[in-house]
Each structure stands twice: as structure tokens, then as C-alpha cells.
Amino acid sequence: MTKRITSRSVSLTSTFLLLAAGGVAACDNDDTQDEGFYCADANGVVVDEDNCDDDGNTGVGGVGLLPFFIWHSASYRPGYAVGTKLPPGGSRFAYNDRAARQRFGLPTTGRVTNGTVKTSVVGKGGGGTGKTSGKSGG
């Protein structure tokens, strides 16, 4: 690399100058909540996600043709195994309710993986990971 001791000029992009002037920053998720999604039966017991796959025509099936639901709540954490009773307080909609799926940003048809896309999995801003506040740099 060429030896250069001092920059000849230090010009800044308009994006940066706008930020310096108090412009739009990254939107954090402090004011919103993560939502966890699980395929479960009417009692809120987690079942295999295939049961909520309306492409496979298996959404209504199983013993005694029980209906299955997509249950959701901000309090659901990832990793509940099949057979687990979901924590209380969740809401549900029919596995094939396209409008409800769309409202939550889920695929309108097909499978919804249990514990699907999540945000705030790293960082302290929105996730409540319990880190003490402080600078990330040094």
C-alpha cells in the first residue's frame, strides 16, 4: 500500500451528514414485541408442524379429526417440543386462516415452522437479553 500520512480531503456522504443532523436512524424494536408461533391443538399442546401445513391436507386430521391451530404469543420462546403445553395467555387462529397468517407476516399457505422467523435474537435493544447497558465499542 502507498505511504500516505494525511488524507488530502475528508468529505462526508449526504447519508452521514443527514444522520449527524439527527436524521433517520435504524428503527429499533423497543416498542414492538416478538411473537412466537407454534402449531398446536385446541388445548394448546404443541403438535408436529405438518399438522398446520394446509398444502398437505393434514390440517384436520389425527385422532378423531381434531382441528389444529397456529398459536401465537409474545411470551412463547423457541424450542417447545411436540407434546409441550404452551404457556398460558396465547391466542390462536385456524391453521388455514390465510388472512390471519398474512396479518402476522407468515406465509399465507403451506407450513409454518414451529418457532419460526424471530427477530431480536442478538443485541440488547429489543431482545431483553439481560446484558447491562454499556458501549459496544471501546
Binding site: G105, V121, K135
Partner: protein
């Protein structure tokens, strides 16, 4: 090296600095008083010979750190294919068998730390290393971009030798003030006739420059790194989008503006960029991908992240919920995983204080290079017990947190924080910062020596006041410099 306590005070300097990005100037002290982080008036003068000495020290230290990194990865059983085979289902890294485990780095990260360290070296880490059973189509070696870092040095001018205090390798800040604010201060005050004016080519080493008569051009750190990445990942577009993430719970604006500045230099180098919050980095469980998710519930607007810079310590990241998934994604032998700038080796091998005893072990007896080092040992070692005057530093600490200075067995300064609760410390022989008389009292400078793309690139000076200021912490000031 001379401190000038009464320099010019520019009209409207606060507003000028603010408009150039120093939006976090006013600092509230624990007692509630507000102080200015930027010091307008005092400045430092250096001779060209002193700058050359600092440049040489910086290059030499960087070369030693690379050798130290090589030594560290060899102390992990996972650096061989055989080790990774044995460790596929069982734990093989523990404090007895593995240096990385000894300093508290989770075992699941070790392979990617080693892989990113060796990336770009065609002979050392091949497709076979990632895919020993050769189940996937053969791939060329990958590349892990790194653009910057900062050594903190002790130095007291001609006749003294710069000494390494620590290496901020992954998340160095004070970049805006070093690269931009003090450059414009120098340009506006015009205090020197020396052609070098200031040791500060940070900006142009990031963005590159056009050739001029007598001087070839330079593509700059961003283009050089992204071009190398594209050689390794040929499916990336010519101008791949680079995301820049910062931690929004840091409310002073310092993290935000440091990241925004780096982003602006990448933008100037020609790349599409986007500034995001750490918490907007999402994990697509079904697709096994890292995504930018604008907000929960807006996953349908998510965008895959090919390349991301984050100002966020890996040692926090790899202990958080998303850590394992992101490291698994990184391990894709087909190189489709997200590229993280700076790579995990920057924290695991270079940016924590364990490098200090490793450097001393490897180079303490090297007459030519060891002069830039201070004796340093792990706190639990017998050598550490022989030190009577030392700085005790947590292996995983920042901003001077939990650093204690001990002189002749008596504590001079301490700075209790949450850092060091894991009990991992190093002891470094005490080398108290130089003292200069200032208007406010005795001040102590630490010299931040910047590396851009592994090359010395400039300097930013931070000063502490009084005995407390012997440990550089976030209440310390920034003072500009010139070359006279």
C-alpha cells in the same frame, strides 16, 4: 511530543463538530456535571521522526499479533481435521486441552474462529478442512474481510519507545473524532507548515484515492476487501449490499455515529449500504438464513444479509440466543453463509487481553520487537505473582472497566465494573501514562494508533485527568494533534 495547552478556539466549534458527526460530545459525569468530550484549545505537536517511530511500532506490533494469532489457533485441538472429526459429537476443547476454552470462548465457535483466521490462505484452510468427507462440490478458499483496528500505545516522545497497552481489534470507537473531527480542526486552524500536517490518513485508506502525478492510486480498504470476497464468492454482485448494525441501547449516539461513519466510507467506495439495529438481525429457522427484519410481524419484508458489519462484541454475541444458529450458518462449506465484518477471530484471538501474555511469551526476549511490549502474564501464573507494580485487566473488558493499577503493592486507581466477573484477568507491568500540565490539572494521554486494512493509518489521542485519568475510560477527553 509536546502538549500545547492554549491553542486557538474556533468560533462555533461545537456546532462545527456536531455537524461533522460528533453528536455525542456532551458527557455527563457520575456527579451530574456535563463536560465536553472534545477539547478545543489544547493540542499535541509531534515531530515527523516521532510519527515514523509510532508507525514502525504499529507495523511491528501488527506483525507480532498475527504470529500470536497463529500460535493461539494451534493451541486448539480443532485446528486439525482429525481434531474436528473427534470433536464432532463430543467436547474436546476444555481449559486443559485448548487455549480458547481457557479464556472462556464457547467451544461451538472455535472452528469458525480458526476458519476465518485462515481464510484467504489457499494452502492452510481448504475445502477439505471444512468438508472432510468431501460430500459437497469442491470450493475454493473463502475470505473474511477486516477493515480496521486500533492499538492503544504508551509513548512520551523522542527518546522513549512506544509500548502496547492493548489492542482494540474488533470494535474500536473514537473513529469519527480521529478520522474526521480532528482532520477538519487541523485544516481550519492551520497551525503547521509541515507537509504531513497530521498523522491521519484513516479516511482515504478506507475510501481509496485516485492516482496523481508521482503517486499511484489506491482502491482503499472497502474495495480491496470486497473484491477479495467476490473472488471467493463469485455469485456476489459487483456491488453487494453491506448492512451496518449497531446497538441501539447505547443512547449517547457514539456507537451509532461510529457505525454511520464507517458506512459512509463504504458508500463513498461505491457500495449500497443500510444502517440497522442489532435487534433487526433475524434468524430464519426454516431457511437457515440470517435476515434483516424491519420489525417483528414484518417478516414478509425480510431481506437476506450477505455481508454485515456489526459494532457489537463477539463475546456478547456468542453467548446470546442467536449465536449458535449464526455460527452454524457461517460454517456452510459452500460459502453461502453471511459474512461478518469484523470476523470472530478479531475478538477471540486479537481483541481480548489474553493476547498480552501471549505476545510477551513469544516475543519478550526478542531484542528488536520485544521493546514494544510490556511484560504480561495471566493473573493466576507464578510470573504474575512476581510483579509488584502492574495493571490488572479483565481478559474481556472495555473502556478501562475493572482495570486496577497497583504500584509497589498498593492500589493507585481502580474502576470497578461488571467486567471480569468470570475471574479471568491478566497482569501487565505498570507503565504509567505520561503526565502533562493542563489548565484543568495533570493530564495523561494514551495514543490510539489506527490500522486500516492492517496498515498504520493515523492517531487519535485521549486524555485522562489526575490519578483517575491513568486508566483511560469513557469519561476521558479527545485532544487533536499536528505534525510540526
Amino acid at each position: 511530543m509536546r502538549r500545547v495547552p492554549y491553542g486557538p478556539v474556533r468560533d462555533g466549534w461545537r456546532l462545527t463538530n456536531y455537524s461533522l458527526g460528533l453528536t455525542y460530545n456532551d458527557t455527563e459525569l457520575p456527579d451530574g456535571t456535563m463536560v465536553s468530550y472534545w477539547q478545543e484549545g489544547p493540542y499535541y505537536e509531534f515531530s515527523a521522526a516521532e510519527i515514523e517511530e509510532l508507525e514502525t511500532a504499529t507495523s511491528t506490533l501488527q506483525a507480532m499479533c498475527i504470529e500470536a494469532g497463529d500460535w493461539m489457533v494451534r493451541q486448539c485441538p480443532r485446528h486439525t481435521v482429525q481434531g474436528r472429526r473427534e470433536g464432532y459429537f463430543t467436547s474436546i476443547c476444555n481449559p486443559e486441552s485448548c487455549f480458547l476454552a481457557r479464556i472462556g470462548i464457547p467451544e461451538y465457535t472455535h472452528e469458525q474462529i480458526i476458519r476465518t483466521w485462515f481464510d484467504g490462505d489457499a494452502d492452510t484452510w481448504t475445502h477439505y478442512d471444512k468438508d472432510p468427507d468431501m460430500r459437497l462440490p469442491m470450493q475454493t478458499p473463502d475470505y473474511s474481510p477486516s477493515v480496521y483496528g486500533r492499538f492503544d500505545l504508551w509513548y512520551n516522545g523522542a527518546g522513549t519507545t512506544p509500548k502496547l497497552l492493548e489492542y482494540n481489534a474488533q470494535t474500536p470507537t473514537s473513529l469519527v473524532e480521529a478520522a474526521v473531527i480532528q482532520w477538519h480542526w487541523m485544516d481550519q486552524t492551520n497551525l503547521t507548515d509541515h507537509p504531513w500536517r497530521q498523522w491521519n490518513s484513516i479516511h482515504e485508506r478506507l475510501t481509496g484515492w485516485e492516482p496523481t502525478p508521482g503517486e499511484p492510486g489506491d482502491p482503499g480498504a472497502w474495495r480491496r476487501n470486497i473484491n477479495k470476497l467476490r473472488e471467493a464468492r463469485t455469485w456476489l454482485p459487483e456491488k453487494p449490499k453491506i448492512f451496518f448494525a449497531y446497538e441501539t441501547s447505547e443512547t449517547s449516539g457514539e456507537d451509532r455515529m461510529n457505525v454511520a461513519y464507517l458506512m459512509a466510507t463504504a458508500e463513498e467506495a461505491g457500495y449500497p449500504v443500510e444502517l440497522i439495529a442489532m435487534s433487526q438481525i433475524g434468524w430464519d429457522v426454516a431457511g437457515d438464513r440470517v435476515l434483516y427484519v424491519p420489525a417483528p410481524g414484518q417478516e414478509h419484508k425480510a431481506e437476506p444479509i450477505d455481508i454485515i458489519f456489526m459494532l457489537y462484541p463477539w463475546e456478547w454475541f456468542w453467548n446470546e440466543e442467536g449465536g449458535k444458529a449464526f455460527f452454524r450458518n457461517m460454517a456452510d462449506p459452500e460459502k453461502r453463509g453471511t459474512v461478518w465484518i469484523e470476523p470472530p477471530y478479531k475478538a477471540a484471538l486479537l481483541g481480548n487481553k489474553a493476547i498480552l501474555p501471549v505476545l510477551w511469551k513469544l516475543f519478550g526476549d526478542d531484542a528488536e520487537r520485544g521493546k514494544y511490549l510490556l511484560p504480561a502474564y495471566f493473573a493466576e501464573s507464578s510470573s504474575a505473582a512476581s510483579l509488584k507494580s502492574y495493571a490488572k485487566k479483565p481478559v474481556w473488558g472495555r473502556e478501562g472497566g475493572s482495570v486496577t493499577l497497583v504500584r509497589d503493592g498498593a492500589t493507585v486507581v481502580d474502576n470497578p465494573t461488571e467486567y471480569g466477573t468470570d475471574g479471568r484477568f491478566v497482569l501487565q507491568e505498570l507503565c504509567e501514562l505520561p503526565s502533562f500540565d493542563g489548565l484543568e490539572g495533570t493530564v495523561h494521554p494514551v495514543l490510539g494508533s489506527w490500522l486500516i486494512d492492517g496498515e498504520p493509518a493515523g492517531m487519535g489521542i485521549r486524555e485522562g485527568l489526575g490519578d483517575e485519568g491513568l486508566v483511560t475510560r469513557d469519561s476521558c477527553n479527545f485532544v487533536p494533534h499536528i505534525i510540526k
